[in-house]
Symmetry: C2
Subunit: 317 residues, 2 copies
């Protein structure tokens, strides 16, 4: 697949950071930035821009806050055409922390929100746009949204929001390719003046195929993470996506190198990927939080009981 | 997805056996047979029916030969409506080993062949049909077949073969959903009086989505393996497929139980699944044999070099 407009955004540090409280050390983040730059990937999302007033600093690493100094430290001296992105959640950012773009190493700010919070997200995204940033609004938990609410939300984004991209986020990893086709056609039909993006989760091993399906139906902004690292089951693996895309600007080889040197060892210490409780929440269209909790306790391998508790099928035989 | 005609064939023991020389012990095979029976799965493929004259018996377990006595030992006393299947390769079976159906615990014989060997496969499948078996012909390495050869092969199967099912096998795990759609439409257009089956490999995490794509385009015979166990990257996971199919004859819970008790421990001793060299052979549309060889040696984590050696991109920077 080659389409010039396609942009890949690697969010390993941001989504993967949800599995280690954003504690990647500077060396690791420098290495991944070098890798992504050499691979020709368009964007790297380096973390969340949360307010330190809302979170205990000692509990989290630098990439939950993404202060410009921290970012400058890890990109210093590395040749790159990759743009940096940060994510903000509605209600967790201090708008005064956001410098005008020309004073910041960040190029893009993505605002994550549930459909019911889209008014706030639009307000925030417009403010970021006013400060000179590229902007996106990431609509989370899209599988759970009532159709009329989604229609209205997309129309509002089209009419009221200055964002460049509207992302559909399959937070639960529950969508199949036919759902992706349907949602992409809908979004492209309503949001005519902006790009559509896709952020897929891999609970059912469908993150890559759902990303392909979104590409076929004209999504141009594609999220991925190296070796699929991300919350719970993780995301569309960057290496598979680069293998599929035929744009010569990409080079998969630095990514392969990074996986063997860094991600394989890391995957022995931090769990993500195809783990049955995450698959179960995916197939039942539930948020992975209960599965994440299960994996922390001594019932972690009790898949049948977990399924029965979520699906209400206990005792039925 | 609910379509009454859909049949699931679990081939964990057969395809998974390629990773342990078919040495599953009787206890394990009894347990998986019990699990598959309770789950309501239509078929279980228990191994290969190879001739002992061609293979050193000491090197392989029972499921490379599938003698009726071995099969009877592991199914004895277990209540089941699951039919048993065995696979034969062209040129590796002694046709005299095949009893008439009424004397055998096996219901279905599937003949695996490359497209160039389809004449032999047709001859064999017709003989099995004559002995009273359900029969299938599994066309391997479908991603590598020249289009006109495939057309001719499918027409021959339609006209000359008594088999019930023609399977398309993505041996390399290289096909994307658009390829599956194309191949299924072609097969359904030519093979009008038989069912079409799909056997996908998971090198690029596409085995499940490709199976869904095949279902959408009217494949009714679906191969899967529990926890995805199979050669190299493995196959479409049975548990995901059952989660997707809405036919009430299936019950996912015994499968979940079996995964926690048996497959998770097994996966620590035998390697299959998402391993980067398998992903690389998938994206380059190569057979996984070189990746399997790599994983046995001390260069097993040298992904970049492996990619460069296969793609001819070494030294290009």
């Amino acid at each position: 697949m080659y389409r010039e407009q396609i942009k890949v955004l690697d969010c390993t540090i941001r989504d993967g950071g949800l599995m280690n409280n954003h504690t990647f050390d500077d060396r690791f983040v420098r290495e991944i930035y070098r890798t992504i730059s050499r691979a020709g990937i368009d964007y790297m999302e380096i973390g969340y821009k949360n307010s330190r007033k809302l979170f205990e600093s000692g509990k989290y690493g630098a990439w939950k806050f993404c202060e410009d100094e921290a970012i400058l430290r890890v990109i210093d001296g590395i040749e790159s055409r990759t743009k940096l992105s940060v994510m903000v959640d509605v209600g967790r950012v201090d708008m005064n922390d956001i410098q005008p773009k020309k004073k910041s190493p960040v190029s893009m700010i993505r605002t994550a929100c549930y459909v019911q919070d889209v008014d706030k997200a639009i307000h925030m995204a417009n403010e970021f746009a006013g400060k000179g940033y590229e902007t996106a609004v990431n609509l989370m938990a899209i599988s759970k949204v009532r159709e009329t609410d989604l229609d209205e939300c997309l129309a509002q984004l089209e009419e009221e929001c200055r964002c460049d991209v509207v992302y559909l986020v399959d937070s639960n990893g529950s969508l199949y390719q036919e759902n992706i086709e349907y949602l992409l056609k809908k979004a492209k039909g309503i949001v005519k003046t902006k790009e559509i993006g896709i952020h897929a989760h891999n609970n059912q091993q469908l993150a890559f195929s759902n990303t392909i399906e979104a590409i076929i139906h004209n999504a141009n902004y594609l999220d991925s993470t190296i070796f699929g690292m991300g919350r719970a089951a993780g995301n569309c693996p960057t290496e598979l996506l680069l293998g599929f895309l035929k744009n010569p600007k990409f080079d998969i080889r630095p990514v392969l190198d990074f996986i063997s040197r860094e991600m394989v060892p890391l995957s022995k210490r931090v769990e993500w990927g195809y783990v049955i409780p995450y698959a179960i929440t995916g197939m039942l269209d539930e948020h992975p939080r209960l599965a994440l909790k299960l994996r922390e306790g001594d019932q972690k391998e009790n898949y049948r009981e977990f399924y029965e508790s979520l699906s209400g099928s206990a005792g039925i035989d």
